[in-house]
Symmetry: C5
Subunit: 406 residues, 5 copies
């Protein structure tokens, strides 16, 4: 319930439309799948609607100037200028400086009006412009005559402090943010859903003169941004490693049904992660194999390096998924072990006392002629017999391994 | 039972021959598979029958004029004329207006006589004509010299109000309707099983002058229709999301065997959905790669967009199927948890009372020489012993986690 | 046992060598796998034997004339002659009539002597001749210089009346018959294991003058025969649909181990069916792609239609296999549900009566000083206590959902 | 234990190095996997050792003349000479007779010295010579300039008489023998591990003049040997069919844990069989597609026939594996059925007697004022009540299907 | 805990950064997954960092001379010189001797400074240099203009003495060491993580004059090193064979939950092993198919031999994984067998004694008129009845197979 409230709120304040998997809680109170549904719900306004971006309501009205943040960095090997855009039309109209080799414009969040302005100035395809807007898209590359269009996703695992041992995975949310890049000869335009800090190290590296990134063109900048996004998956995977380790402990100690639920949530999140990383691998591969010269030969070995990383990520995800499957088996085994233990207690109790109860019943019978009843030492004798029988039974169960051994 | 009645009725009033999966009820009273069987039963009149449409009984007799609805829309960028056909022969004989760039004829439902008339006028292949008639066909494209033949399916999930928590998926029926399209240079002919409202948004868009759809040819119209059909899958998927979420709740709270049945029904429906969407992906891809110029370069980027959507749909279906598999595990776990709980109650009851019963039996024995029997405080003392023993046992079970903890 | 008797008998009367899967009984008294074994046992006389047909004992001695049935149909568009061959040598020696466009010779069953005669006259490869004889072969096409060799299998599900609810699938036998075809320019030779009635509709269609089949050549006849064989799978699949539906009912009502056995038998039969239909798909595809002109362009669209049918069959088989897998899960769940129910009864009985028995034991003790024993209303009071305690326990179990609810 | 003894013994008497899967016992006393390990243990002397055969200790010292058996058969269409080689050097030095078209030399077992001698004379690659020696190799073909090198494996299932019903598969051992063939224009050299009788039928066929095998060259002889090896798999598969059938009976009647162990052993053996047959399929296919003319066009259709057989074998193995999987499910079901039965007995016993015991306890109480105790017919009346209650309970369980029905 | 301590320690003493799977303990006290996580944790300093090796802190400061071991072997067919490098700059500056055909330089462990020096002298790509440093990398080949770059991994299973039967796999650690090779015309540079002894046999072989390895170039040396690495997997596999065998014994005798955990650990380790061997297969294949002449035709058949070995290793791993899966089933079955046994004991005890207890209760009733109570032989008679009933019950259970039979 609070989920829907959050969703509707966010659609005004921050553009989080379709932030697709926000809702897969790993475990705990709200075992809902709703997060997966929102992914589709907001994909398109409705089936049969007009394609393209021009017809969207907001596309023709400029947004409040402080709700959108447009930054640019102009640089060449030995000069750098950064700025923030307030008057978009003036900014687009002004020609590029002579000295710059690369202008990187970053827009966050992507507003229809802004996208449309850029579309008109840089002549994107209307569908590319629409895809910047409509979230989520699968990561992909599209080659156009004078530019490349790349869609990527940044993964993030939002992890709250677990409140108790059972809720180990409760507050995990696998979040993903969409990033769209347009690569021109001198200009790289990036649209980010949120002004995250994934690219902050790149911005820092750009500050130094004469480093490799300053000496190369837009394609190397594209590589650097790609590399930052891909490498950002490693800490996410580490967090999953932690979650799996914790789940393993809980499975062995306290196999409740919530734990299984949690294991399945992790499995699904890993499947989702894989579905996002796999096309990113293809994106990198397509860029590597691009043959129109938009990616220079200098940059290509670096792309190959990123490619190796995507493969590593996919392999780690696969091994985590196998671990999660192993945990399911372990869980099932732990549950049936517990059952075994319960049955053992019952059987031992019943097997020891049922014969004894029979015997005390025998001497509770009211037959007139029962010689034992009048014997002097009958009562102590029968207690001895009880004790011996109990010891014999317990020894039998001990030998069967039901007592004392694990 | 009522199902068969419905089927036989429908074969007269509305042509619903082979509406293939109507009968897969998700859950509830009639756990029948019959819907799957009807799919095959009505496929062909009988093995070894003549191929082609000419020989079908109804092919030569015109149907009642009001049982079939033939509409046409003629348009160019700035002119539009819509109409409904009553005299088919006259309509076909009349030449196309000079000004029109596209004529879209929509026939619903496909009657053998009408198909045959069109076949003769537009020179379809007799097998294509037969495929319009015989339902269900797999989605596919066939390229002929002067026209394209496309078969598609529109998915629909008919969802009734669930009567109680157990029947959450009872009234779901995955319905699919077949659509056949013939693409000529200026004419697009579509046969719909039922005059559904999937294409209503397209008809509305056509009303406006100078929009993109009016400025382009039949290939763009084909794209628009395709896009509407593909996007229509998203709401269907959303409904499955709701069903899965509800099933998850029921699985955790009340894991009856009907729930498992229901989960399997959902799995099967998703498998069916996948089997229908997957070839639609191929259809879009084939149209995209078509090289005879029947699909213009302007339209192709739009087809690529549709292609991305089909991939997204397939991915969502896959993730839903994994969720359903997860639910099966969850169900099994919930069932064995319940068993565990039952065993715990039995074991605690038995373990607490069996020793006590033994002891009361001891003092029910009739031995002459049992000193305790005559002690003054023996009876209160033994009650104290009973209570202490019970507390000890319960403490033991509490420490084992069988009482009080979850 | 009776199985082996049948097999040995059949090897004399009717040539049923290797009728491969005759023995997979779905369920019931004889849960044997022997049928699968006979498949291999009779494949070859022995490893290392001579290849080819000339060396087989019967290849040089003519069979009894009435044990083999050789029919021919000569036809062109407006003339038709049918006949039965008694003198094989004379028949082969006589040249073809001038007017005929197609001669279709059908031999059943394939006898080594007859095969050898045809081999010598039509110059088959000796291995092709051997494959006509040795059963079962995988469906396949072989292209020779002047003829095509096609091997196919006709599926049949022999279904006896089920005697009781448990034996629902007992009397099902998946039978398959091998058909070999040699396609020449004017002659089509077919060898059938049994003179079945799968092709009767084709023979009937041939009787009419000027129908499409009469106006085309041997390739169209080949298509018609293929189409009849492929379409013959649909009723077989329908029967499996019925069996699955019945099994589902039995699984839910009475999950005995025989039901599981039966489900697995159906699964295996479907797997077998798939293994036979899949190469038939390839056969049709290969014929469709054949480029030597032996299959005319007129016939090819018809072959494509058959191809679509084979794909549909494979898809239906796949969905049936998934259903059978679902039934296995359902079965397991029904069994553990039953266990749950048994445990519930035990637990309720024990939990209610064990405390009561303890209390009656207490007042059966023989202590001298038990004040309650002498109270006037102690006995009625204790009965009230018993009843209240029982009600309390039952209420507790009812609240837990073990009584009264499903 | 006896296993290791056998292994060490065999390493002296017969060269059974690496006979890889000898040790997979299907079932019974020694449930060891050791057989699988020996496979690897003897693969290479040690990592980092010299490649090639020259350096092996025995390569330069001739073996005892009677420990190795070298036979040759020289033949053309109408002449044949067989012999056994005693003086290897002289034999190799002597030129081939003029009249012969094919010389077939068979060596068994492969001794390093002999291999080395042949290597020098026929100029094999040193690695090929090493592969003859080092067992096991994967079946494969290698093409050299003037010869072909083929490695194959002959499967054999050594089946002892089962001692009791549980040990049905105890004494099965899947044995495989390596065969290496070198194909030259006039000479075919074969190395067999053991002088088995798989090729005896070929030797017999060679005795007759003017049969096909005598009229063709080394390639046809290669085909005949291949065919014998491949067809030798069919009896092995039949034996597995018998084992599976027997296991099915045991599973239904007496599902002990050894049965499951046995099923898994069969599964593993079938997997192993598949791993050996699959590359043999590739070998045949490669020979069929060989284009240097070393395989003549006459022989190729025969190879295609062998190819079909390998596919049939793989398909049968697959279906056997599915059967084995089905048996696992059946086993699990039989076990839980047994559990159900045990629980039913317990529940019926407890449910019938616990209430009765309560009642007798009631009348064992020592209250002073219990009017029933003094009634005249109380005792017979309570017996009637006991009997009626028991009948009611039994009727209840009978209606639930726990008694009397299956 | 001790794990982390070890990790942090090792980062100073020996460069074991990212030794990836050190922590997968098979079984026992510390069931942690942490080892898997360390794999990723140390992969990169942080996302967005500078690519290349120049910027690493240690790259410009020479390490302590005794912490790194650089050896070289110069050889031609008849001359050999080995040495250890102390002054790296002088060593690199000195030109190669005239007589040498191959110089093999081995560096261990790879220190940034040393790598950087070699990078500048031999002109590696900066990313290749980085990959030598950053561990783990996937095995792969990269082709550059004048050199090849190969990354491989050496597997090692560190096996401690198992302390008890349960801990059979406790002390196993699958360790992997990274090796990087640069192949030039006359020089082969190898970087090893640890100066292991995998290549010792190669060094020994190099000592002999005129052996094949001395007569060939760097490519043959590369092959020899590759071969040693690949063959080193066989003993690792053997150890897994031992572990599996031991686990099988434990599973049958004492199926505790730790055993299942252990089985899953083995499965994961085998999966990991496969993930490492599979790309090594590709490496060998790529080298085999290399067409620039850097691998000579003499060496290629040897590479093919290595390729066959990698395939064998993958097949053995696959069969081990299937065995591990079989063990999981076996485990589950052993657990439920144990449950069955427990239930049997309970049921037999309860079923025998509950009726007896009922009867003794009957004669403990206090009715005044119970004729049996006064009979003379009633007490001995009832004992006879007890004994007979017990025998009857035990006979019944024996016939059901619950007693005495297995």
């Amino acid at each position: 319930m609070s989920k829907k409230a959050r969703n509707s709120k966010s659609s005004t304040a921050k553009v989080v439309i379709g932030k697709p998997n926000k809702g897969i809680n790993l475990l705990g109170s709200s075992l809902s799948l709703s997060g997966v549904r929102t992914k589709n719900r907001q994909h398109r306004v409705k089936p049969g609607a007009l394609p393209g971006i021009e017809h969207i309501a907001d596309a023709s009205t400029a947004p409040a100037p402080d709700s959108i943040c447009i930054n640019y960095i102009d640089y060449c090997a030995n000069q750098l200028e950064t700025g923030s855009v307030t008057d978009l039309d003036a900014f687009l109209a002004k020609p590029l400086r002579d000295w710059l080799t690369v202008r990187w414009i970053n827009i966050s969040p992507p507003h229809p009006y802004v996208i449309n302005q850029f579309r008109q100035h840089f002549e994107f395809h209307t569908l590319a412009a629409e895809d910047v807007m409509h979230i989520p898209q699968r990561p992909r590359v599209e080659l156009f005559d004078d530019h490349l269009f790349v869609v990527l996703r940044i993964m993030q695992l939002i992890q709250a402090e677990p409140s108790n041992i059972n809720n180990i995975a409760t507050s995990n949310e696998l979040d993903s943010e969409q990033v769209s890049l347009f690569l021109y000869d001198n200009v790289l335009i990036t649209f980010q859903e949120e002004k995250g800090d994934v690219w902050q190290p790149i911005r820092d590296r750009l500050q130094k003169d004469n480093v490799r990134i300053r000496k190369n063109g837009t394609d190397y900048l594209l590589y650097a941004l790609l590399d930052a996004i891909v490498d950002h998956c490693f800490p996410v995977l580490e967090q999953y490693g932690d979650v799996l380790e914790a789940l393993e402990q809980v499975t062995l100690n306290n196999p409740s049904v919530e734990v299984l639920h949690s294991i399945h949530s992790v499995k699904q999140q890993l499947a989702l992660l894989r579905r996002i990383v796999w096309p990113m691998r293809e994106v990198v591969d397509q860029l590597y194999r691009e043959e129109d010269g938009r990616i220079t030969d200098t940059t290509k070995p670096y792309l190959r390096d990123v490619y190796e990383h995507t493969i590593q990520i996919v392999e780690i995800i696969e091994s985590y998924r196998e671990m999660a499957s192993g945990l399911t088996d372990l869980y099932m085994s732990a549950v049936s072990n517990r059952m075994n233990e319960i049955m053992k207690v019952l059987t031992i109790m019943a097997s020891v006392f049922i014969p004894l109860t029979f015997i005390v019943g025998v001497y509770g019978m009211n037959f007139e002629y029962m010689p034992e009843l009048t014997w002097r030492w009958a009562y102590p004798a029968i207690w001895c017999f009880f004790i011996l029988l109990t010891i014999a039974m317990l020894f039998y169960f001990w030998r069967k391994g039901w007592i004392g051994k694990n």
